[in-house]
Symmetry: C2
Subunit: 277 residues, 2 copies
Amino acid sequence: MTAEPLSDFSRLCVHTITTKGWELEEAVEHYAEAGVSGITVWRQWLEGRNPAGVGQRIRAAGLEVVSLCRGGFYPALEEKSREEAVEDNKRAIEDAAALGSPLVVLVCGAVPGQSLVESRKQITDGIAATLPLAESLGVKLAIEPLHPMYADDRSAINSLATANDVCDQLNHPLVGIAFDVYHLWWDPDLEEQTRRTAEANRLFAYHVCDWMTPTTDLLNDRGLMGEGCIDLRGIRALVEKNGFGGMIEVEVFSNRWWEKPTAEFLEAIQQSYLNHT
Amino acid sequence: MTAEPLSDFSRLCVHTITTKGWELEEAVEHYAEAGVSGITVWRQWLEGRNPAGVGQRIRAAGLEVVSLCRGGFYPALEEKSREEAVEDNKRAIEDAAALGSPLVVLVCGAVPGQSLVESRKQITDGIAATLPLAESLGVKLAIEPLHPMYADDRSAINSLATANDVCDQLNHPLVGIAFDVYHLWWDPDLEEQTRRTAEANRLFAYHVCDWMTPTTDLLNDRGLMGEGCIDLRGIRALVEKNGFGGMIEVEVFSNRWWEKPTAEFLEAIQQSYLNHT
């Protein structure tokens, strides 16, 4: 199963962290110029800015705000820290609403040495505590299952199955999943769990990049699409077969690419989007 | 659930690669002196040596040969390479028999860009092709599921469930599983799949180390037991509850530890074995 090549940029969204050499205003200008259609704003790019104003600027440039990245990090040993995490997530939801972002992406968190079962309970409770606000503002929350190599301190949700389990438990139309090929490509249950995700109407976002061989850094050695081993068109065919037609978000953390001029990187992103995604 | 501390070294086995500053003869001498009970020999330590002679030396020193590490790496794009891999695995099985090792550990292999499903088929076929020899020599083969971060080029078998599936398919009493906490600790299905492994009489080996936060290298930044976040006594309780009473094999790849004097490292291994494993 393989998807048809993408022939235009109508579904191309870029994360501000991907082009992290650019301030928000530069990113908006360059994306719009290049014909990129969507932007996912990382929270650092809102610092010192008015989210509503940022949203207006983005839309005025002809771009769509796809999501705000990222809330989460609910688990903590101390109750006080967990309460602070909930407050921080409420701010993220408020910022998303002001920005005009329909979605907050959640990197759910984990505490080294605390059992993953306990962390998942704290994640579930943390999301639940923000749901009334999310509901009142109409903001969706997308759990992003992270690769098992991040199970120590970034997320206790390490497969699509576990993300679906947590969603089932919360059982709310605003709670869904951000599907990132980097985290999920290896999963033997991907087909079945993608179907489960789609049937529950919770396939909220789709992130792409590639897996490098060798990977020299656990965080910042992602590949541009086509540079690695992920079957990008096979996985896109899978999500599209299950009804996903939304934005394709390029989220590449790469020291190697970040060393190059950002404009050159954006050009490479667009080429690899057409040729390999 | 947590296991009682280990109070002696009767189940302590060390992998020669863990103390890689030592040649085989040095490792045997130092392990025996320190009261270590078992040794898992990596194939590089047999180079230029007679496996039968090595086995005699090990047993004369009062140590048990626990396994030969490692066969595997069956998948390849070319049929010729797959045939060579089978031949190499046959040599490993013959060396294990000569050494007096009851077991060969298999790191099964993967090919970047080849689907994991295809690689698993090639792995299954590769193991099957060596089974008559393993049978005639009475050598067991243990599939070691590897962490999903090695799914690109080291193993297409990335969970205990998948390892069990492949074992079910091969359905042979000599084919089982090497359970390594580093690769499996994060798995939400660990309890269920450990039970499945034990019920099928295929829990052949148990490897320990720890997961560092942060992990700075995908291959050689493992922790000594107690340095990281793995619930070592919880997982040992789980395998023991399921009937495992075999050797506890210390397999630590660590540039950090390898920089220190090897004797100091062995001492630290023994301390962490008693205090944290």
